[in-house]
């Protein structure tokens, strides 16, 4: 009767195994340690492999309850994608288009948090195809921080995945990847939206070793 959870668990195991075999991914717990606290992981986004790589770095129990937030417009475009996103990858689908949307993304994400899930979000809102290391952050991360101050917001810098599986590519190139987990960011009292978005973006950027090297060079 209930084949879906089994399918999901199998898929998650296979994907995490593949991510490790291809990229030898290693988590670097730089600013925090793995914990059973409910968390929102926010990361840079340039590839479909990003959330698979990130969840492969989490301890098994945490991985099982962690769901990625993804764009409904993309993942509901055709039947295969929709089944993949809903039944296999177990993503939380939110509508990105302001004008046409029927459901409020905040409600959907808060529902998932209320169900006890941890979330993976990509605050840039889309895959970054520019030469910039990070795009401007959308407001969602601020709204989540405001609504659920009890949930830790952990910045996660995903290294190299955009080279392994760039947009439009189907087969991954085997390159070594790392995911750097930084110190949790919390909304300060009286901090406005703009300041918080800037600060959380900077916290993520600070984890990028390339960015650090560029700063060192001046």
């Amino acid at each position: 009767m209930n084949a879906k959870p089994l399918l999901r668990r199998m898929a998650a195991m296979v994907l995490a195994g593949m991510a490790r075999a291809i990229t030898g991914v290693r988590p670097i717990w730089q600013g925090c340690a793995p914990s059973d606290r409910q968390r929102i992981y926010f990361a840079n986004h340039a590839s479909h492999g990003d959330f698979i790589l990130l969840s492969a770095c989490l301890p098994p129990q945490e991985r099982e309850r962690t769901r990625a937030v993804a764009g409904a417009d993309y993942w509901r475009k055709n039947k295969i994608r929709h089944v993949l996103a809903r039944d296999v990858l177990n993503t939380v689908l939110v509508e990105r288009n302001w004008v046409e949307r029927r459901e409020d993304p905040m409600v959907i994400m808060l529902d998932a948090l209320n169900d006890g899930h941890s979330l993976i979000i990509f605050p840039e809102g889309t895959r970054n195809m520019t030469e910039q290391p990070l795009l401007r952050f959308r407001s969602g991360i601020y709204n989540l921080a405001f609504a659920r101050p009890d949930v830790e917001l952990v910045p996660c810098w995903i290294e190299n995945m955009s080279r392994v599986l760039p947009k439009g590519a189907f087969l991954p190139v085997p390159l070594l990847c790392r995911v750097v987990f930084g110190a949790p960011v919390a909304l300060e009292s009286g901090e406005d939206r703009h300041a918080f978005l800037h600060r959380s973006q900077q916290a993520l950027l600070d984890l990028d070793p390339e960015h650090q090297r560029a700063l060192d060079r001046g």
């Binding site: 190299n160 087969l171 190139v173 085997p174």
Partner: protein
């Protein structure tokens, strides 16, 4: 083969002695309740990794030619992955990079499997050499073109072409040595890796004068000379694995060790240029695959061609 059994019994003995010494050192340094110094922690994981590597090579040897070819195809894969990770790649290089892993590695090792030496020797330096820049040009992205193309060529030469010369020793038809190619591989690996270990040991015990302080702080003249002389003696003692006389075996070992030293030096220069300490983290205590295989990369092709020229 009696030689194989003796060889692995010998290796087992060496590793057991190493583990025993490490255990004694650990016990001595923690007796007063101190924490283990980092050199010892590193030594422990190095020795543990050696057990695993010797086990992997032994299993490959059990499966004969196919096992050894698969093992070194995997070494090439891991080495190339570490190398390409450190290079500058662009989105337009995706297909070339895929081809390096999915076409060039399988073809190069398949040519060994079917014993087609003629193509094995020129597949990378002729066909891939020309095809890769051509395909990169077709992709249309000219930014840092020369740099990208050169880095790809180097990666394939070092990680695939050079490393594939280790299993290529199996294809040599040496008169009076038929069916014993595995022993020649064992000889090469034992002397080159032995030289690495002995250079490390001599360097730790007597090292004072640095060979190239700008490139590697751990390479000293004392380690280099002590390591190469002792590894050459080791090679001479292991002559019974080879078609060589003891003197020839010593000279071949010396040549391989000198090449191995240059391999390590070049690898260090690349790492220094890219601002990393190790190539990766695949082998605990050693770093990545290339940290362990860099000496073999330089030694294998020269060893192969010396044997091919003088003994076949």
């Amino acid at each position: 083969m009696a030689e194989t059994i003796w060889l692995f019994l010998g290796l087992l003995a060496v590793l057991t002695v190493a583990s025993t010494i490490a255990t004694v050192l650990n016990w001595k340094s923690t007796r007063k309740g101190d924490a283990l110094p980092s050199t010892l922690v590193n030594l422990n994981s190095r020795i543990k990794a050696w057990w695993i590597m010797v086990a992997a090579i032994s299993i490959a040897f059990l499966f004969g030619k196919g096992g050894v070819i698969l093992l070194f195809a995997f070494v090439s894969f891991a080495a190339l992955r570490e190398y390409v990770t450190l290079t500058h790649t662009r989105r337009g290089d995706h297909w070339i990079l895929l081809g390096m892993f999915l076409v060039i590695i399988p073809v190069q090792y398949y040519l060994l499997w079917i014993d087609w030496y003629g193509l094995f020797a020129i597949f990378v330096p002729v066909y891939c050499f020309l095809a890769m820049p051509a395909l990169t040009a077709i992709s249309g992205d000219t930014a840092r073109f020369l740099e990208r193309v050169s880095e790809q060529q180097w990666g394939i030469m070092l990680s695939v072409y050079c490393i594939s010369h280790v299993p290529a020793l199996l294809t040599l038809a040496i008169p009076g040595f038929a069916g014993k190619g595995l022993l020649l591989i064992a000889f090469l690996i034992a002397t080159v890796q032995g030289s690495d270990v002995l250079q490390y040991v001599f360097g730790k015990l007597f090292g004072k004068h640095k060979v190239a302080p700008k490139i590697s702080p751990s390479k000293t003249w004392e380690g280099l000379i002590g390591g190469i002389i002792s590894a050459s003696l080791l090679g001479a003692v292991l002559f019974w694995l080879t078609p060589f006389t003891p003197l020839q075996a010593g000279l071949m070992a010396a040549l391989s060790c000198v090449m191995g030293f240059f391999g390590g030096l070049v690898a260090s220069a690349i790492k220094r240029d890219r601002g990393v300490k190790d190539w990766g983290h695949m082998i605990e205590g050693h770093g990545g695959m290339l940290d362990r295989a860099d000496s073999l990369v330089f030694a294998a092709p020269i060893f192969f061609h010396m044997v091919r020229y003088f003994w076949t």
